[in-house]
C-alpha cells in the first residue's frame, strides 16, 4: 500500500499541493483527475521521487520516503515502473534494447534470459515482430505499449502512468486502458494513473481522486462519481453534453 499524508509542495513560493492525503491499494487502478494546473503531475512526480515534497510523508509498504538513504531510494525506484506521457523511450535504442535496458542495469541474467523476458512482456502488451524497430518507426499507440512493456519488465510493485491515453484514438486508448487494468490485477500492482480522459476514468477508475487547486476535493469509485453531488467534480467530469446526458440517464435508471 502507498500512504500519502499531508503532502505539500510549492514552486518559487507558489503552493501547488496543499496537504494531499490518500492511500493506494494493491491490485486497484487508482486515477488522479483534475483540471490543468490542479497539481496532478506534481503529485505524481512527488510519488515517483522526481520532485521532493516540502512536507508530508509518502510511505511505500511501510517505507517512509523521508527516512530512506539515497541508496535505499534508488532501490525503491527499481520497484517502480512508469509510463510517461510521451513514452520517454530512448530514441537511439531499438524496442528490444529499450525494454532490455532496466534488466541490463539491475538484473544478473544472461542475454538469452533477458531476451526471453523482453519477448514475454512484448507479447503481454500484444506487440510482436517489433524487436528491431526504433521508437520513431512505431505509431503512438505502439510506443505507449512499448513504454508499458518497459515499465513492467522488472516486475514492479508500483506502476505510475502519466496521461497514458494522450494523443491516442479512442480504440487504441481503450486497448491501453484495458491492458493497464489487466496487468494491475494479474500482477497485483499498485497502479496510479494521471488522466484527463473521462472515458478511462469511467472504464477503469476503481478509485478516483479529484484534485482542485492542489487540494484533494473528492475521492471515490467510478460508480460513485455518477451519483456525487460535489459541484466541482460534476462541473469537471460532466462538462460535455454527452457525459451530462449519460449521468442523467444513469441517475434516472438507478432511482
Amino acid at each position: 500500500m502507498i500512504e500519502v499524508t499531508d503532502l505539500y509542495k510549492e514552486f518559487k513560493g507558489i503552493p501547488v499541493l496543499k496537504g494531499v492525503s490518500t492511500t493506494f491499494e494493491k491490485g486497484v487502478t487508482n486515477m488522479i483527475i483534475g483540471q490543468s494546473g490542479s497539481g496532478k503531475t506534481v503529485f505524481l512526480k512527488c510519488l515517483v521521487g522526481l520532485h521532493i515534497p516540502d512536507s508530508g510523508i509518502i510511505c511505500f509498504d511501510g517505507r517512509k520516503h523521508t527516512e530512506l538513504t539515497i541508496k535505499e531510494h534508488r532501490l525503491l525506484r527499481q520497484e517502480i515502473g512508469m509510463v510517461f506521457q510521451g513514452g520517454a523511450l530512448y530514441d537511439s535504442l531499438t524496442v528490444e534494447e529499450n525494454i532490455m535496458f532496466p534488466l541490463k542495469m539491475f538484473a544478473d541474467q544472461s542475454f538469452s534470459e533477458m531476451l526471453d523476458r523482453v519477448n514475454f512482456v512484448l507479447k503481454r502488451v500484444n506487440l510482436e515482430d517489433v524487436n528491431n524497430k526504433f521508437p520513431a518507426e512505431l505509431s503512438g499507440g505502439m510506443q505507449k505499449r512499448v513504454s508499458i512493456a518497459r515499465a513492467i519488465v522488472m516486475n514492479p510493485k508500483y506502476l505510475f502512468c502519466d496521461e497514458p491515453n494522450s494523443g491516442l484514438d479512442p480504440n487504441t486508448a481503450t486497448v491501453i486502458d484495458n491492458l493497464i487494468k489487466e496487468i494491475t490485477e494479474e500482477y497485483q500492482i499498485i497502479t496510479v494513473i494521471n488522466s484527463h480522459d473521462m472515458n478511462s476514468v469511467m472504464e477503469i477508475g476503481e478509485k478516483i481522486i479529484f484534485l482542485k487547486d492542489g487540494v484533494k476535493e473528492w475521492e471515490g469509485s467510478n460508480k460513485e462519481i455518477f451519483i456525487t453531488e460535489n459541484e466541482a467534480v460534476v462541473n469537471f467530469v460532466y462538462s460535455s453534453n454527452l457525459f451530462r446526458k449519460v449521468r442523467e440517464a444513469y441517475l434516472k435508471e438507478t432511482k
Binding site: 515517483v48 521521487g49 522526481l50 531510494h73 534508488r74 532501490l75 525503491l76 525506484r77 527499481q78 517502480i80 512508469m82 510517461f84 506521457q85 510521451g86 520517454a88 523511450l89 530512448y90 530514441d91 535496458f101 532496466p102 541490463k104 542495469m105 539491475f106 505510475f160
Partner: protein, 246 residues
C-alpha cells in the same frame, strides 16, 4: 549572482557525475559508444583543419620573413612551435567545443525535454553518472591522441605547402622542425588538452542536462554551451600558459 549560482550548480553536478558506475558492463558499452561519437567521428575534421592550418602558418611565416638576415629554417621552427604550443591544443579544442559541445548539449537536452532523463531517474539510475561520466572519460583519454595527430599533421601540412609553393626548401624546413626541440612543450600541450577535454565534456553536459522547455530551448542551450565552453577554454589557456610556461 546568477553566474555564481551556475558555477555552484556545475560543481554539484560534477559530484553526482563522479560516482561508481552502477553496472560496469553498461558503462563499458557507453564508453565505447562515446569514444566513437566524440572521438573517432571528430578525426576527419581535425585531420582536415590541422593539415591546412599548418600549411597556412608555414606560408604566412615564409611570406613575412623575406629578409636575407633571417634564416629560412625559422619557417619550420615557427610552424612547429605554433602548432605544438597553440594551434593543435587550443585552436583544435575550440573547434571540438563547437562540434562535440553542441552534440553533447543537444543530445542530453533532447533527452531532458522528452523525459528520457526522468525515465532513467525513475528506474533508479544516476542519470548524470550514466550519461556524463563516459563522455568525460572518452574525451580526456582520446583527445590527447587526436591533438597529437593534429600537431603532426599541422607540421606535415607546412612541409607540403612549402614544397608545393616553392617558398622554402624542404631541407630548411626539416632542419627547422628539429631545431631546439623541447619535449616539455609536448607535455604542456597535452596537459592543456586534458583540461580542455574535461571542459568540452562537462560544460555542454551541464547546459543540456538543466535545460527547461522545448526544442527552441535545446537549441539555445546548445549555442550557450558552445559559447561558454570556448570562453572557458580561452581563459584556462591563459592561466595554464602562465602556470606552465612563465
Amino acid at each position: 549572482m546568477n553566474y555564481l549560482r551556475h558555477v555552484g550548480k556545475y560543481f554539484i553536478m560534477l559530484r553526482q557525475v563522479f560516482r561508481k558506475p552502477q553496472k560496469w558492463s553498461v558503462f563499458r558499452e557507453m564508453l565505447f559508444r562515446e569514444i566513437e561519437d566524440l572521438g573517432l567521428k571528430s578525426l576527419g575534421i581535425i585531420t582536415f583543419i590541422s593539415f591546412f592550418v599548418g600549411g597556412v602558418v608555414a606560408i604566412q611565416t615564409a611570406l613575412n620573413v623575406d629578409s636575407p638576415f633571417i634564416p629560412k629554417y625559422l619557417i619550420g621552427f615557427a610552424t612547429k612551435r605554433s602548432m605544438i604550443l597553440e594551434f593543435a591544443p587550443t585552436f583544435m579544442s575550440v573547434i571540438l567545443a563547437g562540434k562535440v559541445g553542441s552534440y553533447i548539449s543537444s543530445s542530453i537536452g533532447t533527452m531532458r525535454v522528452t523525459e528520457q532523463i526522468d525515465a532513467l531517474e525513475v528506474m533508479g539510475i544516476n542519470s548524470l553518472n550514466y550519461l556524463v561520466l563516459p563522455k568525460i572519460i572518452a574525451t580526456v583519454f582520446f583527445y590527447p591522441l587526436l591533438i597529437s595527430l593534429a600537431m603532426f599533421l599541422g607540421i606535415f601540412g607546412g612541409y607540403v605547402a612549402g614544397t608545393l609553393t616553392g617558398l622554402f626548401f624542404s631541407e630548411d624546413y626539416l632542419y627547422g622542425i628539429r631545431l631546439d626541440f623541447d619535449p616539455y612543450y609536448i607535455q604542456y600541450a597535452l596537459i592543456k588538452t586534458v583540461v580542455f577535454a574535461f571542459v568540452i565534456a562537462t560544460i555542454p553536459a551541464y547546459h543540456g542536462y538543466y535545460v527547461k522547455g522545448g526544442s527552441l530551448e535545446v537549441g539555445r542551450a546548445s549555442t550557450q554551451a558552445v559559447v561558454w565552453t570556448s570562453v572557458v577554454i580561452i581563459l584556462l589557456n591563459y592561466f595554464l600558459t602562465q602556470m606552465l610556461l612563465a
